[in-house]
């Protein structure tokens, strides 16, 4: 089935416009990660998830439903129709990830929150106002939808008196730090990624980790945001032996993730080639982006295991 690119982009822009996310998810799923952390609501500095990790189980669920058809999860939505989607949140019917699946991803923002606390950083959360950044709309050239959405994000930040945002994933970092200033007049939010914050904090590890791990740089971190040294500093500080694949650092190779929404087969091919490169240098890999994680782990199957960088860091630096 030829991919209805136009419909696909239409649906996600509708979602962004009507439901403030390309793939709308229930509020309780979005904020579950904050449970027990006692984070203040808002404040000068907040930890901002951009929903990237919370969205993954929903996407995975849709992907599973769609792989049988050889199409993307967004293409599945288009099957139902853009007109219908405007009235009903189609995704809510199609995706029902289990609690277990969701908690696997809620763990990551929680890891980050604990690490930041360990580093002595004070911060709050926006809870239900922690909105999706619009990264996918930006990538697909849906400029008008993005522009409107960015205003909503900015309004939410302003409403809670936020001056500084600490981000987790590379895409949200890039959107809030490098894209928004061009979209929003007098944009004045300071944006730092938690890896940058932690690297500056010069923490000492409580537990030394051992072994080889292949490092997979995110394209957006390495080539858009200049985050290359920080993850290495932190992981090596934790005691790990980092194994650099053939394409590494600013010359890193993409996981294929960015085209997953439109051309899943191309994404899978690229992920396969990348896994081969990583597998050539180590049996386990570390990622820094949820999209990289999902794509690479799916391609690797049982060949190698990937972990998010925050899992390693929490093991090493947790008090």
């Amino acid at each position: 089935m030829p991919l209805p690119t136009g419909d696909t982009i239409g649906i996600l822009t509708d979602n962004l416009r009507l439901r403030r996310s390309v793939l709308p998810i229930p509020v309780e799923s979005a904020i579950r990660w904050t449970k027990g952390l006692n984070l203040p609501r808002g404040g000068k500095r907040v930890l901002y998830t951009g929903l990237m990790y919370q969205l993954i189980p929903y996407i995975e669920d849709l992907v599973e439903a769609q792989t049988k058809l050889g199409d993307s999860w967004l293409a599945g939505l288009t099957g139902v129709g853009r007109r219908m989607n405007r009235l009903i949140n189609v995704a809510a019917f199609l995706a029902h990830p289990s609690k277990q699946e969701q908690e696997a991803y809620d763990r990551i923002p929680r890891n980050v929150a604990l690490l930041l606390q360990r580093a002595g950083v004070e911060f709050g959360s926006l809870y239900e106002d922690d909105l999706y950044s619009g990264a996918l709309a930006y990538d697909l050239g849906a400029d008008e939808a993005l522009r409107a959405h960015a205003q909503k994000v900015y309004a939410a930040l302003k409403k809670h008196g936020v001056q500084e945002v600490v981000t987790i994933d590379p895409h949200t970092t890039n959107m809030l730090r490098s894209v928004y200033p061009a979209l929003i007049e007098d944009y004045d939010i300071r944006v730092r990624n938690y890896l940058e914050v932690l690297a500056e904090a010069e923490m000492l590890p409580h537990h030394r980790l051992e072994g080889d791990v292949a490092i997979h740089d995110s394209c957006v971190f390495a080539r858009y945001e200049g985050v290359v040294a920080q993850p290495r500093l932190l992981l090596e500080g934790a005691g790990l032996t980092l194994c650099e694949p053939h394409h590494a650092g600013t010359m890193t190779w993409c996981c294929g993730g960015p085209v997953e929404s439109l051309y899943p087969q191309k994404a899978a091919q690229q992920a396969e080639r990348r896994v081969e490169e990583l597998h050539a240098v180590a049996d386990r890999g570390v990622t820094m982006c949820p999209l990289c994680y999902v794509n690479l782990q799916k391609a690797a199957q049982d060949r190698m295991r990937f972990d998010d960088i925050s899992d390693y860091l929490l093991q090493a630096y947790e008090g």
Binding site: G6, L140, G141, R223, W253, C254, P258, V259, K266
Partner: protein
């Protein structure tokens, strides 16, 4: 035989950035693309600059399957903002082909 449309680049650009004038057709972008896309990006940029609209519209899949990974951009000896141009092209397709 293609008759050139002189203002295609203006249609593509609208208010966004599209600048490939520094491109010297060296081909580094094509060679280094992890997807190995035959047409991306210098060939497609030429279509835009010259005004080869029909040829451009045939390139929808190539334009939308770009990873936006910037491998080409950081290695471009002419400093072309390749990825920004691709986004602008997507926006053009959104308007032109999908009526968004």
């Amino acid at each position: 035989m293609t008759v050139l449309t002189p203002d295609l680049v203006d249609q593509v650009r609208e208010n966004a950035e599209f600048n490939a004038s520094a491109c010297m057709n060296c081909g580094v972008c094509t060679a280094i693309c992890p997807l190995g896309s035959e047409h991306l990006p210098r060939g497609i940029f030429r279509y835009v600059l010259l005004g080869m609209k029909e040829e451009l519209l045939k390139q929808q899949e190539t334009v939308f399957s770009c990873l936006l990974c910037k491998m080409c951009e950081v290695n471009c000896p002419a400093g072309v903002h390749i990825v920004e141009n691709v986004r602008t092209l997507r926006h053009y397709f959104d308007r032109q082909a999908f009526g968004l």
